[in-house]
């Protein structure tokens, strides 16, 4: 099984969610801040300007079967893209096992 971790723009969450539709059965979402190539913004505070590196991002985590990963990645890329720097990244890694707390079931069936 695979873990897909996608860092996207906050206002793209709904688009991504809709695009994934019923190709996934679950996902987890966290708010975070990121810094990267995207220029941060400047904030104004009592007569001075401050450069803020970190921009708010959303982090999605989806666990899926090995064979589903490529398709999901493609969908996320497409639906989260604006074409401007800061669209975000997707990290793919292995998951060894998955357990459903409610039933104790394990493995791919749980996804």
């Amino acid at each position: 099984m695979k873990k897909i971790e996608a860092i996207i723009r906050p206002f793209k969450l709904d688009d991504v969610r809709n695009a994934l539709g019923d190709k996934i059965h679950g996902m987890s979402v966290m708010e975070m801040k990121g810094f990267g190539r995207q220029r941060g913004h400047s904030e104004v505070y009592r007569g001075a300007e401050y450069k803020i590196d970190f921009v708010p991002k959303i982090r999605l985590e989806i666990i899926c079967k090995d064979e589903e990963a490529e398709n999901l990645i493609a969908i996320i890329c497409e639906s989260a893209r604006t074409g401007k720097i800061g669209d975000g990244k997707i990290f793919l890694s292995d998951v060894q096992d998955i357990i459903r707390i409610r039933t104790g079931e394990r493995g791919e069936a749980v996804i």
Partner: protein, 411 residues
């Protein structure tokens, strides 16, 4: 007080009841305003700096403060102790056309808010107990005497003809200068060089709104009656901050390309502080000009403070101190110009003209210098004895958890 009045006026009393409540309501407003500007880990500690004055300064005022400020039994420098514990004052006593107890409450509210203003300069890095010691001493040694100098008819600055309608000298200058002295002595917050941003601007804007609301009681209540002077002070307290807002936002836009909510709030507060000493003494368009100039000067001080090397954390000096200088001075300038009919509304004094300007300068120097020196001595003494500033660990963890055992937010 030596005011004589034949009878209670229910209208005057009604207005003073409300305006006293409004002034006291400024204290939670200030707590919110200052707290929002601090970091979230210091929110409650910062609020407590304001809130606690309604506890300890109130008691000090009842025990001795009122007497030191307003008893006739002293001299030009300080009142006597004959009114300690409000001796001899009862529910039937009058001050002018209002009950004496109401006058004591109104002035007590001023006594509470003034030390709270200081706390902005030294926010996010002081211990709670020593802070209480400090404000108790400061109120007794600085606020009460200065109040006597300026607002008691026998006070030497009142005698000299200084005009301070609602507390430019007594409230804003004393606390602003005290803040400056204290923050220089206690040093900067750790991490300041990387920029410390307000943690909750909603608190700041709402706090400013509450402050403005209360300030109508502060300024128009200083007429001690429900009359034309109160209305003049009220209108000035409405239009002055308006000019402060517009000035600040325009400068900010020109300087940094954006107009911020904090800029609007700060401009309003600067305008409010600016019109305070003049509220009942100048006509509305003069109040607007005064507020605009003050907001401009405050902008410069606030923007430049980083490079001046002190950490006036929430701009107690940058806003209140500066406004406490510019406001009283401007009254002198206006009065000295012979433009009374357009800008100046009467006066409690027979001076006017250039003499008025001199009286104002003298008062500024006396009040500012005195507050600076006494505050300096107090802060150094407290820091050397019981310790005023928190340790680095406490500063890093934040005052709320370390000193008060609480978190502001528990989502």
């Amino acid at each position: 007080m030596n005011a004589t009045a034949s009878a209670l006026d229910t209208g005057d009393t009604a207005w003073m009841l409300v305006s006293t409540a409004m002034v006291l309501f400024m204290i939670p407003g200030l707590a919110l305003f200052y707290g929002g500007l601090a970091r979230s880990k210091n929110m409650l500690g910062t609020m407590m700096h304001s809130f606690i004055t309604m506890g300890v300064i109130t008691l000090q005022w009842m025990v001795i403060g009122y007497s030191l400020a307003f008893s006739d039994g002293g001299n030009g420098l300080v009142g006597g102790i004959d009114l300690a514990f409000l001796r001899g004052i009862g529910p039937e006593s009058l001050h002018g056309s209002i009950p004496a107890f109401l006058w004591i409450a109104f002035q007590g509210a001023f006594a509470c808010i003034t030390p709270a203003l200081i706390s902005g300069a030294i926010a996010e890095r002081i211990r709670f107990g020593p802070y209480i010691v400090f404000i108790l001493l400061w109120s007794t040694l600085v606020y009460d005497p200065v109040c006597h100098w300026v607002w008691h008819p026998n006070g030497f600055l009142a005698q000299a003809g200084a005009i301070d309608f609602a507390g430019g000298l007594v409230v804003h200058l004393t606390s602003g200068i005290a803040g400056l002295a204290a923050c220089i002595i206690l040093g900067k917050r750790h991490g300041l060089e990387r920029g410390i941003m307000p943690h909750n601007m909603v608190h700041v804007v709402l706090g400013a709104g509450i402050l403005w609301f209360g300030w109508f009681g502060f300024n128009a209540g200083s007429a001690v009656g429900s009359n034309g002077t109160a209305a003049l002070a009220f209108l000035n307290t409405f239009v002055g901050p308006a000019a402060g807002i517009c000035t600040w936002l325009l400068i900010e836009k020109a300087h940094l390309g954006k107009s911020s909510a904090l800029g609007g709030a700060t401009g309003a507060i600067a305008g409010l502080a600016a019109v305070t000493p003049a509220a009942g003494s100048v006509l509305p368009f003069a109040a607007m000009a005064l507020a605009a100039v003050t907001a401009g000067v405050c902008y410069v001080f606030v923007a430049k403070k980083q490079s001046m090397g002190y950490d006036d954390a929430l701009d107690a000096f940058g806003v209140h101190g500066i406004a406490g200088i510019v406001g009283p001075l401007a009254i002198g300038v206006i009065a000295s110009q012979g433009v009374n009919s357009l800008l100046f509304h009467g006066s409690d004094t027979a001076l006017g003209g250039m003499d008025q300007l001199l009286a104002q300068v003298k008062a500024l120097a006396a009040v500012g210098g005195y507050s600076m020196v006494v505050t300096g001595i107090l802060v150094i003494t407290i820091e050397k004895t019981i310790g005023f500033r928190v340790g680095k660990d406490v500063e890093e963890q934040g005052l709320d958890l370390s000193l008060h055992g609480e978190k502001a937010y528990n989502h």
